[in-house]
Amino acid sequence: MEIGLRLAVSLAQIAAVMGVVMLTVMVLTLAERKVLGWMQDRMGPMEVGPYGVLQPIADGLKLFFKEDIIPAGANKFLFTLAPILALVPAMIGFAVIPFGPTMTIELFGMQVKPFVISDINIGILYILAFASIGAYGIILGGWSSNSKYSLLGGLRSAAQVISYELNVGLAIVGVILLSGSLSLVKITEAQSGGFWNWFIIALPFPQIFAFVVYVISSVAETNRVPFDLPEAESELVAGFFTEYSGMRFAFFFIAEYANMILVSCVAAALFLGGWNAPYPGTLLGHLGLDALAWIENVVWFAAKVYFFLFLFFWLRATLPRLRYDQLMRFGWKVMLPIALGNIVLTAIAAYFFPR
């Protein structure tokens, strides 16, 4: 009975988070086209609904009713498995993201943390591990399609994700050294009390270089412009999902956007203070409305995440695609030494000036 109730509460939390994420993905598909259009003096989608706001629904319906094609010569099992392997890790990472303040509420005689599904003590490691599994979906999708474009896209993706996962991991180490925990909840709590405590500028050693490395590497990790070599339209048709159609294609598409949201959430939680407001406490808390303070915190978290998502679109509207050797050289010869140097300096600073 107790376990069943706990399971039900957890499932409700998971459903709520998944719903929010899927809704954000829907908003993002429209927002990306709109923002890109506006930056390029176009209008973006305008036909479905007023100002094209119903375009994601039309896209979803179209993809849902499209014919599901498995190309001749494709490995059917892996071809079916690949989109799931891409989507599930992208979704599963949200389990450890704290969306709001750390608090426990009493529900049916149980302690429930409403703003984080599961506060495990290796949260950030868990996200990194599943992000690497997501690369398998891309590689297997490219390999099993029996198409040279897909294979090239998949291989490029493999090399790129391995190179840049490393930088993401090393950029995060500085933050972990300062906060002394791998749990995203604890890392976020360590940054409370004003923007000067956020790890991007916090003493003893500001993580600004780690932040830049993390942002660039996460753009590369999610295969977005200017690092979109795995799906370079002008070279590889559509890269690893050239042969995919219908819902399978939609899975890859949702996975890409969910990954964008995930890395934005992690960036907000690690470097920009997560749900903490840039001033001590919350305005609603100072006004004596402590019961409603969580709304302000969640809004701050959403604002930070949406800032990063806007940055993704902004970069896409601005930058051309890198050449493959430039990508590799930049990852290994520029980003990696910066991240390593940051770890050394942060370790020295954290040793002499413990927080």
């Binding site: 930056m39 176009r42 209008m43 601005t318």
Partner: protein, 191 residues
Amino acid sequence: MNVAITAQPKRKPSFSDWLKTLTFYELLVGMKATLKHLLNYKPITLQYPHEKRLLPENYRGMLALLRYDDGTEKCVGCDLCEAACPSRVIRVVSGEVPGEPTKRYSKEYYMDMTRCLFCGLCVDACPVDALGMTREFEWAVYDKRQLHLNKQQLLAIGDRAYPVREKRLELQHPNVAFFNVTFKHLPQKEH
């Protein structure tokens, strides 16, 4: 991020170059440009089916066969348009007007508009101004056989595009009216 330009001799990067590389100066310049366009949002898009472009005065659209104001066809079946056409769009089957052995007309007249490139050479070539270019351009069809037009269709296009018709040739230009023999009210040519 600095791209080395091979044509120039390599010079030692100055301090400001280092600073620019470190602060992603070039990227920020580009991002400023895109942000500026986002903030002063002035789209140049024309929402085509809802709002349409103003066509230029000399727009060359769908071809049409024309008539005189009394309803007779202008075409005299001379095949000059067929000869002028660079894409072999036009096919004319010429014939005598029944009962009038000195007059000719086009018995059949076909245009394969899938090949037409709207150069207007046939219109220039026509000695009697029987061909005209209308301002129609929305000719998307589901079956491209529908673009293989016959004489009736071409005349119908001309009828709806040119509601004001010219007078018969012999009533306007005596000098170019030699295709018609019925200008008895005009002085005969001297031999």
